[in-house]
Amino acid sequence: MAKFGRGFDLAGYGEKLEKAVDQSVSEYLQLTQGQLFAANPVDTGRMASSWYLTKDTPDLTARSKDWTGLQLKKYPGKITADGNWYIANGVPYSERVAFDPVYGKGGRVGGSAWYTNIVTQQKTTLDKRLIVNLRKIT
């Protein structure tokens, strides 16, 4: 089998590449969901616990109105790079809390601009995960 500089082996390269991209997307999505969960201001914890990661269709349901506590709902299956992925929050007041500093004052990470702090850095977050995982290919 053809070998390139520094012992790079072309055998199975496509499969390794696919695995690295899947791993990057998986880390990126879970990291983003975790960031939103961790930064979301908390009163009862309903909104913070309602960031749902889904494939192909956004899940706009939310924890029940009497929900109290903090619990991240993880995606139950395997996350791969194919398909469209959504991280959604169906709490009716989520838009206000995400964007309005009057309501977002309690942002646990990033202060009152907690939501846009996470969203505006998305490209950088994905780039970093891709660089880390693509470098592991030998």
Binding site: P92, Y93, E95, R96, F99, D100, P101, V102, Y103, G110, G111, S112, A113, T116, N117, I118, V119, T120, Q121, K123, T124
Partner: protein
């Protein structure tokens, strides 16, 4: 490297742009005004928030030892009374967008490069007596 130098470019340029509107729009800066200028029927104002969520990255540069590229995030909230249409809010948003796109030329030393601007996103729900649009964008700069 100075966060203040970066912040100063954003605050100075945006403040000047909003003062040039008719009537001028008050701008609230972080950790300066603790309470908005008002939530009454005629209140309108802008809240400017600058964050540095991704700290620093090294860049290769012969002339500046340890020069750092700062990644940041800017959020601009524009508030205006409800039930008066979207015109004023959208004008305020347009001022923010055009100003953000001229920051690089405004101070070449800081070289604030604003990336893709999200918004204006309308937030008209909730109990707040004011309607709001919000814009946000990532940026890089050298302090």
């Amino acid at each position: 490297m100075s966060f203040q130098a970066i912040r100063a470019v954003f605050e100075t340029e945006l403040f000047a742009a909003y003062q040039a509107m008719s009537p001028p729009v008050p701008v609230m800066f972080q950790n300066v005004q603790e309470t908005p200028p008002g939530t009454g029927a005629d209140a309108e104002y802008v809240v400017l928030q600058i964050s540095f969520p991704s700290t620093t990255e090294p860049v290769l540069c012969l002339e500046w030892s340890n020069t750092e590229l700062i990644r940041g995030s800017v959020q601009i909230n524009c508030y205006s009374p409800r039930e008066r249409g979207m015109g004023r809010l959208e004008n305020m948003a347009a001022v923010a967008m055009s100003t953000l796109n001229t920051l690089k030329a405004a101070n070449p030393t800081v070289n604030a490069c604003v990336g893709e601007i999200s918004g204006p996103t309308n937030v008209l729900s909730g109990e707040n007596p004011l309607a709001m649009v919000v814009l946000s964008a990532p940026f890089t700069a050298r302090g």
